[in-house]
Symmetry: C3
Subunit: 112 residues, 3 copies
């Protein structure tokens, strides 16, 4: 089996935001020479997720509101009490993003 690995850097800001990776992934697959097989896409961070769905602006706003309701950012999470953990004091309060990443999943397998 031929395997080809690539890293795609995506700059993210604060809060929930959506990035369309389809054009970049298409280009990576095309450039890899893969004709038939499987593209396994994985997030390199534990506070990000991947979904395959419709890229419609009003649906994305529905999704943002749904996710905020599902795991509110300021719900008093233990993991957000940064001063109690062995980590730098400027560690972001990102527990809601961890929870949502686990619910949405951070990997997608796409048939090529």
């Amino acid at each position: 089996m031929r395997v080809s690995s690539h890293t795609l850097a995506v700059a993210t800001g604060r809060g929930i935001e959506f990035h369309d990776l389809t054009p970049a992934l298409r280009a990576l697959v095309a450039g890899s020479g893969l004709r038939e097989g499987l593209a396994l896409v994985s997030c390199g961070h534990t506070t990000t997720a991947l979904v395959v769905n419709e890229n419609e602006p009003r649906l994305l706003e529905d999704l943002r509101r749904f996710l905020v309701r599902l795991a509110p950012p300021d719900a008093g999470y233990l993991h957000d009490e940064i001063y109690l953990r062995d980590c730098p004091p400027d560690e972001p309060e990102n527990t809601h993003a961890h929870l949502l990443a686990m619910m949405l999943n951070s990997t997608e397998s796409i048939a090529v």
Copy 2:
């Protein structure tokens, strides 16, 4: 790597419903000649999902109620204001199905 692709048509109605794809998938895998490898199953629509679990009627009704509570069909979604979008007026109001598809995921990888 040998790759074999197949399309499985599933007729769906309105609202949340469940279809057992196991017999059809088993037949496709058997017919493909695959002895060892991976069956990647993906939905061709963004309002459908795949789960691997127990096919017990009362559990499926629990699941239906759980999903309706998680993303109620009539929660005033922006994506359901069809007249504001550039699409045919008979486009279904299906935002809850998009959200649930993203939560449940629309792809399953199954070891064969």
Copy 3:
């Protein structure tokens, strides 16, 4: 394509608990001789799930609380009325675990 299959037994108790499978999975992959490819990890039970995320004790407690709120164990599920089903009377009341397994997903594909 070379395929190698392994079973990893994990003893679980009652209620929601977390098990770090990373060391055991690393050892299995190393022992399999796989250098490049894909590790497909699937649960053999329908009341268990897999997540790839940060193994931080306070985050795991946040996750436990989140999951209990999402699908409370004692919410009067139909599947938990064991006496109405064709199964042994000591079948556990585990509907919440089925629902959470479907939400979190029971399979992970990991690039090696």
